[in-house]
């Protein structure tokens, strides 16, 4: 079991008798079974020392830190278990060879559009009329010609995503108004949900990439920038419809998250602590859901699908075997 532990309360994490414990402000202690842990998500104000850091490092457990108002602030990753200079060299070569970079960027977008389309056609079959949106997504899919450069590909992806987001106002219950993607900070409830759920996808992809020898900062669709893991952005885009958006639809349509779960201040709108907790919980349930994998002939969790994506990419870079992007098949 690769459990993610989400710590919302304030307090301190420490190493205690070969496992990790959380000591809350009221001095209440809870223990995290370290052997099952994949990563800690720190949402509250947490103190820790180097002893717990090296202990987490020994167990290969990452810490993802969410800062002010739960923006993703960064990760403390365990020392790399996987090192392979060859992989990094091949990764950079692929980035630096325009045809190869474009080919990968195109694959990522193909996966993203496919998965957005899957969500739209689900709702199209359930009392909504989204035929025109599906058509727009198909049109963008067909525009993915090999000669497009990366910025043109980004344009295709942006057009597709805009079409995709246009269904939100219809799908979400009354009171939730989307009106277009806004962030830094999100300006309404829907945008705030999307930002938070996307950051959970992103953090999980960071963990998945870490399991390989890939360099998380060398990316293909997004421009490799400083201070961020842009390869995680490339991969996360394909999974947002399947992980983040499905969770959002579920929690609001079942009224698990209502408009009361948001705080508006400084012209931004953000989830309250209990809202974040509900979303994280629904998100973790989704990560643990399994699907039958056609090629592996066994059931795999959504969380493992993230890792498979990193493995496939690595294999493509090292052996040239065609990279087939994640496209929801069920």
């Amino acid at each position: 079991m690769n459990d993610n532990y989400h710590i919302f309360s304030d307090g301190r994490i420490e190493r205690h008798n070969d496992t990790v414990r959380l000591v809350g402000l009221d001095d209440e202690k809870s223990y995290l079974p370290i052997e099952n842990a994949e990563a800690l998500f720190l949402h509250g104000q947490i103190d820790f020392n180097t002893r717990v850091m090296s202990f987490l490092d020994d167990h290969g457990v990452a810490m993802h830190v969410f800062g002010w108002k739960d923006y993703y602030a960064g990760s403390v990753m365990p020392e790399r278990g996987q090192t392979s200079g060859r992989t990094v060299v091949e990764q950079v070569r692929a980035y630096d060879t325009p045809e190869r970079r474009r080919a990968l960027a195109r694959k990522f977008i193909r996966g993203s559009i496919h998965n957005m389309r899957a969500n739209v056609s689900y709702y199209d079959g359930r009392g909504h009329e989204f035929g025109d949106v599906i058509e727009q997504l198909d049109t963008q899919q067909e525009r993915l010609e090999p000669e497009l450069d990366v910025s043109e590909l980004m344009g295709v992806e942006a057009t597709a995503r805009r079409a995709y987001y246009s269904v939100l106002d219809d799908v979400l219950p009354d009171g939730f108004v989307f009106g277009g993607r806004q962030y830094n900070p999100p300006d309404n409830e829907v945008n705030s949900l999307i930002s938070f759920a996307n950051s959970l996808v992103y953090a999980n992809v960071v963990s998945a990439i870490r399991a390989t020898a890939l360099d998380p900062a060398v990316s293909f669709l997004h421009e490799p920038g400083d201070r961020r893991y842009s390869l995680a952005l490339d991969i996360a885009d394909m999974f947002k419809p399947v992980l983040a958006d499905r969770v959002i639809f579920r929690v609001v349509n079942r009224s698990q998250v209502t408009l009361e779960e948001f705080e508006t201040d400084l012209n931004g709108c953000l989830l309250t602590e209990s809202g974040r907790k509900t979303v994280s919980k629904a998100f973790e349930e989704t990560l643990n859901e399994t699907v039958e994998h056609p090629r592996l002939n066994r059931k795999v969790s959504y969380q493992y699908l993230l890792r498979i994506e990193a493995y496939k990419l690595k294999k493509h870079l090292l052996t040239g075997e065609e990279y087939v992007p994640f496209e929801r098949w069920w």
């Binding site: 993610n4 496992t19 052997e35 919980k281 973790e284």
Partner: protein, 87 residues
């Protein structure tokens, strides 16, 4: 993944030893009772280690369910497994 329940009965002054060991793997649900999901390999590891820790007159029971699906779990009162991943 198997679902295991571990119950131990050891000399009073030796319980912390078992408590500390099992906390690395499972959730402490009641005095001398742990439960949770583990891989087959980890279960073997835990069973082997527990056995080696025993002294005369002490005993440990490990109930192993081949999957979480086979556990029909009813809890009355507070459930320590609630929100175990969300603190």
């Amino acid at each position: 993944m198997v679902y295991v329940i571990v119950v131990y009965d050891v000399q009073a002054d030796r319980t912390p030893k078992f408590l500390n060991y099992l906390r690395q793997y499972l959730v402490h649900v009641q005095n001398s009772v742990f439960e949770g999901e583990l891989t087959e390999g980890k279960t073997e590891e835990v069973e082997g280690r527990l056995e080696s820790m025993l002294e005369d007159g002490e005993s440990i029971m490990v109930y192993r369910m081949s999957s979480k699906k086979y556990v029909n779990r009813s809890v009355f009162g507070d459930d320590p497994m609630d929100d175990q991943q969300f603190l």
